[in-house]
């Protein structure tokens, strides 16, 4: 049991953490009420501005963080029900400090970028209202000091994700992508809620009624290992929904229907990491349940590999990135699952930098190509969009684990821990290493096909290609710098007060260097196939046609789900609708409504307006009551 380092040593009470959440909320109000009236310039100033303010406050919190301690802002007592008291309290410790800096820092850059990207959209106030609301919810999720607040944030970000995926709701496909995301997440949330309930009740059965993380940590030792295992698995179901892991990852690729900055903020850098954060936050429970940890690690590794293979053949620039996100999240879960929590969170941070950059770069490309997303119709953008290309290259090198860039450090740390940790295994390491090679390959395939070679765009599109405006390239450059140097902010010692001291892993040279070699090999292979011998890709596809089709169709998972889950549910609902609903319920309800309305009319007759009748009914009532007492 690892809850010996239970409650953090020093806790300072402060009262400014609430503003971190409050500023974006004010932005929401501003955008809803004043937005449609004040015009674009004010919206473009206020919406990123409030996030920047949150960033400053987050930074101040980081500076004031006592060593090995935490800051707590208890706003008020939220709920008192019997022996349970839930405070509306926000908590900054090294883990949440990392998260709020990512959310507000990367979030701010994406807000700025959005002002350029959405410059031609009419509904910009609604867009920023959602985006600010998302930021506030995400901050609440990571700042909340109890499970209930986390859940409020969790549902809040889910709602915003739905609203933003379907932002262009007049397009049916986009609207249904939003619905898909929402429904799939609901399935995960059901598990998540059950996990919370089980945790709450099983602690309650031991006499501890609490939802606060610190208290759960103190008393977790009271619980039986089997109970903790079930709790952790249920919570993990929620994580697979929000963080797009097998089997619930299917919504994320479709979520690319939303505006591209949204994909960068929500579906790459922040919201999808909520599951990672939640497990890291409750790491003391997972450490008690090795079985649950193993499940997390295996699901993570398999998702990483599986999604990477799909990404190999996709032709939509955002879908490649979407599958890449699923795959990279798999890495993070692998890290958590082998007990290397800080490695997982470290990769979460570096991934936020380079994946946000990749998405924003893709957005810049799409913007320039008049909304074209198919990489087969791109090519040759290198010279026309030098800043986008340069920053995209940095991001590709970072995600491919090129030595010295951020992804190299975090990914290698996870893979080393996979071997070194008592919860790890060589098989998982092997899958991870293979995935590293695949990652490098598909990322550079994307880079080469999009930016190198001759342009394959139709003339009128090619004619318009231009570098994006400064508000869009500035964030790209800043994120490129972060992607470059992000790996040197080693988070492990910083996070040690949360996850406990950690000894650096000692692994053999093979384990240490093979992932990097695999990455470099992936880059080389992509160069061979897409630059030196472009016909080769075609030949490979034909030679392994069956595999190619399988990958292109994403293993037919959507079709399988459709056949075995969606269609039966739809059929059952139709039956319920036709028979149960129309005949029985509607019959009853209409009957009731008619009866009720008829009664209403009947009762209205009582209301004759005649005062004698009123007095009579009054008297009758009085007599009945008297009769009752005198009987």
């Amino acid at each position: 049991m690892e809850h010996s380092h239970a409650a953090l040593a020093t806790v300072h009470a402060v009262s400014y953490l609430r503003f971190i959440v409050l500023f974006p909320l004010l932005g929401v109000l501003f955008n809803i009420f004043a937005g449609p009236r004040v015009g674009r310039r004010a919206i473009n100033l206020v919406s990123p501005g409030v996030v920047l303010l949150s960033f400053f406050f987050s930074f101040a919190a980081l500076l004031q963080l006592p060593p090995g301690g935490a800051l707590v802002d208890t706003v008020y007592t939220w709920i008192t029900a019997g022996r349970l008291q839930v405070d509306f309290a926000l908590r900054v410790d090294p883990l949440s400090a990392t998260m709020i800096l990512i959310v507000t820092g990367v979030g701010f850059l994406i807000h700025v970028y959005s002002t350029g990207y959405m410059a031609h959209d009419e509904d910009v106030a609604r867009y920023f209202a959602y985006l600010n609301l998302f930021t506030a919810s995400m901050l609440l999720l990571v700042l909340g000091d109890n499970l209930l607040l986390l859940f409020v944030g969790w549902e809040g970000v889910g709602l915003c994700s739905y609203l933003l995926i379907g932002f262009w709701y007049t397009d049916d496909e986009k609207a249904s992508a939003g619905k898909k995301a929402f429904i799939v997440n609901r399935i995960g949330d059901a598990g998540f809620l059950l996990g919370i309930f089980l945790l709450f009740w099983s602690l309650g059965a031991k006499g501890v009624w609490t939802l606060s993380f610190a208290e759960i940590q103190t008393h977790a030792g009271l619980l039986a290992v089997e109970t903790v295992t079930v709790i952790c698995l249920l919570l993990f179901v929620g994580a697979t929904g929000k963080s797009a892991q097998i089997p619930l990852y299917v919504w994320l690729p479709d979520a690319m229907a939303g505006p591209t900055p949204v994909s960068a903020l929500i579906h790459a850098a922040t919201m999808v990491t909520a599951g990672i954060y939640m497990i890291a936050r409750l790491h003391f429970l997972y450490s008690m349940a090795p079985t649950a940890l193993a499940v997390v690690a295996i699901v993570g590794a398999l998702t990483a590999f599986f999604a990477a293979t799909i990404a190999l053949v996709q032709t939509d620039i955002k879908r490649v990135l979407a599958y890449s996100t699923v795959s990279q999240l798999g890495y993070m879960f692998l890290g958590l699952g082998v007990g290397a929590y800080s490695a997982g969170v470290f990769h979460l941070m570096t991934h936020a930098f380079f994946k946000a950059l990749l998405f924003l770069g893709a957005g810049s490309v799409i913007h320039a190509m008049s909304d074209e997303q198919d990489i087969r119709r791109m090519g040759g953008l290198k010279t026309k969009m030098p800043i986008t290309y340069g920053t995209f290259l940095v991001a590709c090198l970072a995600i491919a684990g090129f030595p010295g860039l951020s992804g190299f450090f975090s990914k290698d740390l996870i893979l080393e821990e996979t071997v070194a940790s008592p919860h790890g295994s060589v098989v998982l390491w092997l899958i991870g290493t293979l995935t590293a090679g695949l990652t490098a390959f598909y990322m550079f395939r994307l880079l080469f096909v999009t930016f190198w070679g001759e342009t394959r765009a139709p003339h009128e599109v090619a004619h318009h290609i231009h570098e994006s405006p400064t508000v869009m390239t500035m964030p790209l450059v800043l994120l490129a710098v972060l992607s470059f140097i992000g790996g040197y902010f080693t988070l492990v010692p910083f996070l040690a007060p949360v996850f406990g001291g950690h000894h650096p892993a000692h692994v053999s040279a093979l384990v240490k260097y093979l992932p990097t070699v695999a990455g470099l090999a992936g880059i080389g292979l992509a160069y061979q196939m897409y630059v030196r011998d472009p016909a080769m890709a075609e030949r490979v596809a034909q030679r392994y046609a069956a595999v190619y089709r399988l990958l292109l169709n994403k293993y037919y998972v959507d079709e399988l789900y459709d056949r075995f889950v969606v269609q039966p549910v739809v059929a059952a609902s139709q039956w319920l609708w036709r028979v149960w609903d129309t005949v029985i319920i509607d019959g009853t309800v209409n009957g009731t409504a008619q009866t009720v309305a008829a009664n209403g009319l009947l009762l209205r007759l009582w209301q004759t307006g005649n005062v004698q009748v009123y007095a009579l009914s009054f008297l009758l009532g009085a007599m009945v009551i008297l009769g009752y007492y005198l009987w």
């Binding site: 309305a597 209403g600 009762l603 209301q607 005062v611 007095a615 009914s617 009054f618 009532g621 005198l630």
Partner: protein, 482 residues
Amino acid sequence: MITPPPVNWLSLLPGLILTVTGLLILFWDLWMKPEERRLLAWLGFIGFVAAGIVSVLLWGRNESAFNGMLALDAYALFFNVIFCVVGAMTILMSVHYLETVEIQPGEYYALLLFATVGMVVMAAATDLIVIFLGLETMSIAVYVLAGMWIRRLQSSEAALKYFLLGAFASGFFLYGIALLYGATGSVQLDKIATAATTGGVSSLFLVGIALLIVGFGFKVAAAPFHVWTPDVYEGAPTTVTAFMAVGVKAAAFAAFARVFLHTFGSLHAEWEGILWVLAVLTMTVGNITALVQRNIKRMLAYSSIAHAGYLLIAMVAGRDLGGAALLYYLVAYGVMTLGAFGVVLAVGRQGEPNEEVSDYIGLGLRYPVLGAAMTVFMLSLTGVPPLVGFTGKFYIFSAAVQAGYIWLAVLGVLNSVISAYYYIRVVVNMYMYEEGGKTIEALSARPALVTAILLAAVATVFMGVFPSASISLAKESFLPPG
């Protein structure tokens, strides 16, 4: 020589402030230029605010006065604050309205203050005769207020009906007092309570209780004593309707709960059955009849009947939980109902009251703030979280469940479901249809009225999201038994 009992002036202070303000208004009105009459509103407003502030300052003193006829305990002060807030809000809503319907402001504001004096007495009274005194002071002022819209025939009709039936109910109430005096030898609540616990209950005692139920049932508009409500609420000037629906009901419940939950607390088994039936009947009649109403004032009248039913559930649940839930719900009901009437006022004007539910078609799109506020009130009245109406119902129903009245809670929830139909219909009309009705303008939305509406809306949301402070205040106010 008979020495007069010592007078505890402090305990009278809130009522005195209101009385003096009312008198000042009457006198000032005499030599005031007609165009300056608006100042009377602000004088009245200041009076309410001052009395409210004094009540807050007196908090925790727990005084008793006039040989135990009045108590200035937390319970009374809690209600004083409610009454003063209701009075002040009513004034904010009346300033412009009085001009449109041509009501004399002098008498109107003075009567508003005098009615509130009656309420203050009712909440503080620890003696049945004093309760009756307060009840009549309040009622007579309100009878007149209901009939002040002289140009409207229904207003006079409302006043007369209310007066006749009110007098009828007062008869029952007084007779009940007389019988209780016969049974226990006292009209003081603590002595009656002692008699009830020590001397057993005679059938004389029980009949006295029954008659008090009838009397209170009339004032809180519980079925079957509610029949006057729709006619009076519809006919009276809308501001008076709001004042009656909230203030009068709160005052009646203040006395009702003090007598039944505290004094007759030990006899809970004797009256809970009757009130159980009244609660169910009141909720059901209120909600079902509201379904078929087309006039929004009438709909709100039935809605207020239904809410009296929910409040009766809290009475049946009794004990500390039921009492605290009752107090909390009165506040909740007060803010959301005042707000709803405020919106009704905003869209009505002379000759064009716009009181049909169908008049609200498209309103939300043309007046986003007004529409949003009305939506908040309607959803809160339905009991949708996180608004105060939900929190209030939650406390009432959980008090009922904890006291073992599971069926009562179930019926209460079912009733809330029925009520959704007519509340939500207003919201649907405001947003879902753009044409089909006449396009009404919110011409009467003047600053004072809009302030009142917004205050109510903010309170509705705020107390729903942050219920802890107000519920603990309600608990604290109910706890010290009278």
